[in-house]
Symmetry: C2
Subunit: 328 residues, 2 copies
DNA sequence: GCCATTAATGCTCAGTTCGAGCATAAGGAG
DNA sequence: CTCCTTATGCTCGAACTGAGCATTAATGGC
């Protein structure tokens, strides 16, 4: 049983979801694609001179956008055959597109980028994910359409299954909103034909009112990759000090909280957030104060890098959402 | 900026870490490789007729071992160029080996498998990971050698960094053992030349006493993949009901606990474990009893599949290890 | 049948964490 | 000076955790 025998050729694309905070909003770096008006994530093929996947991605991003990436982690590898379908032209049947997606975080947030790149708020692409101020209006419309989709299930069993998935991902009934399930939500929407990509992938034109038809859409499966990144990041800030990869060198605790909220798409209790951060000793005071807070000046804090090495799992054990999940 | 332009060809290997409990031990399915005596994980190239990566892996495993896989999740994608190096013969410089690793769990645990496959206890490959009964003896030897490695660092800064990594991964000093860091431990050992693969990858013969030299070793980077799988599984059973993918249809709470312990490589408090499982309502009594317990008969339980759909994040919130992690 | 052994199962208790909110401090705008 | 805004300190009850004691119900010897 040898390895690599009879393998079909494949090309490996590296794709990056690069996140930065700009004016308090989580933004991703996008590249305007030429053909249609849909944005793409920075990406490029793995090349022979790339020592590792990470190195390859770094060099592509630096080449395409001039950006030096900081924190980086692998997200997922996609290789579904239908990826290449859709209206981007006929796919090469012999070469399967394999794409390895990475999540990267940068502090810089220099809004003006070179070439055809731009920072876009990530909620432009996944508007149902932002619950910071209110239940997003689009959710109401979606829930109505998804209700129809559920009722049109071909069998009673499937109807039940759809109902469960709906309840779990979209917080209907007493189930609380779980901000980490962004990928599940996207995939449910895809399966229900509620995002434009679901139609494009079948070579059809999405009907009016479908998400990403007229408003922000993305090429191929890039919005799915974004949803993956969002879920991963939302989960990971709870147990690793990733937030600080997005913060400037010094910041106030409220800025830190706003960043956590912006990423999670939820609201947090201010005093408890401070308690958490302080207990974990993730930050230390610089001695300076920020006076332009609109109220009492706030201490400027800095990340205490030692924690990375000190404790097993540093991070703010945020428990966003999660009303009563107890037994009846 | 087009995708897939100028890509170098790559072959995509699918590799599976297939875990089953056999006689209370976590075992992985291995394939005896022909050339040298090192075991490999079941794997095979992605082929054009595979619709998805998962489907491809399923079909490879079924073909190689006759096993139908149940639960499955993607682990990581490896593509380091040095992968193909070592004493397996010269690597094809033009084709980069990309391997997508999956974790799969099976209930069956039918010890006799077909062909050249065998179930091997996973601690045979990573013996320093089993802390169920005691601090594994091999850890003492490793700590000594790793101490030398630390002291031989080329600079003071690197020495400090090595010391921190050591403390964090190998629980020296007051830092508690963190069973989830299996991959970090493997990589530290690799970097310190304490596993045979580190030497093989440079085309050198490992000196005596190196882990995996005479005892269990694995082909190419399969042991690294195993370490990845172990860490993932150890982490995930804490918040997802994965344990049940490894259990028979009915089981006692102690059996469930032993499985959790076997995977984590740690011990758990019995009464608290029961409390946890019951509070989460993960299982329900079948009404039957297991009498061959050696003591008072135990209720036979079954998994309550409804939970998968009921709550956001079911799973036993196990807190293994973790003595005092508090502030000084 | 009696006893030691082994597990299963029930229960307690103190320390910690969590969610929520009250109260006070310290700036700026008018 | 007063109001508004944010920072920061503190409290309280509910829930959760870690650790251990106590009781129950089998088994194997005798």
């Amino acid at each position: 049983m040898t390895l690599n025998s009879g393998a079909s050729p494949a090309t490996v694309d590296l794709t990056a979801v690069i996140v930065a905070m700009i004016d308090g909003e989580p933004c991703i770096l996008t590249v305007q694609s030429g053909a249609n008006d849909r944005d793409t994530l920075p990406c490029g093929p793995l090349q022979p001179d790339h020592r590792t996947l990470q190195a390859g991605l770094r060099s592509w991003v630096e080449y395409q956008t001039g950006l030096r990436l900081g924190y980086m982690e692998q997200l997922y590898t996609f290789a579904d055959r239908n990826r290449a379908g859709g209206d981007d032209g006929p796919a090469d049947q012999d070469v399967r597109p394999v794409s390895v997606a990475y999540l990267a975080l940068v502090h810089d947030a220099n809004p003006q980028t070179g070439r055809a790149t731009a920072w876009q708020p990530w909620y432009d692409y996944l508007p149902w994910e932002d619950w910071r101020t209110e239940r997003p209006p689009v959710v109401d419309r979606l829930l109505a359409d998804l209700g129809d989709w559920r009722d049109q299930a071909p069998s009673a069993a499937k109807r039940r299954r759809r109902a469960e998935r709906l309840r779990l991902t979209f917080a209907s009934g007493s189930t609380p909103w779980d901000e980490e399930r962004s990928l599940e939500r996207y995939e449910l929407l895809y399966g229900a034909g509620q995002v434009a990509e679901a139609w494009h992938d079948q070579g059809r034109e999405p009907p009016a009112g479908i998400l990403g038809r007229s408003d922000r859409s993305m090429a191929t499966d890039h919005r799915r990759i974004l949803a993956t990144a969002m879920g991963r990041l939302r989960g990971k800030i709870k147990y690793r000090p990733l937030l600080f990869e997005l913060m400037p060198p010094t910041f106030t605790l409220l800025q830190l909280q706003r960043t956590a909220e912006a990423l999670s798409g939820t609201r947090l209790h201010k005093q408890n957030f401070r308690r958490l951060v302080e207990r974990q000793q993730l930050v230390e005071a610089t001695g300076q104060h920020e006076t332009r807070t609109g109220g009492r000046p706030a201490q400027l804090m800095r990340f205490r890098p030692a924690v990375t090495l000190e404790r097993p799992a540093p991070g703010l054990g945020i428990k966003a959402g999660g009303r009563s999940t107890r037994r009846a």
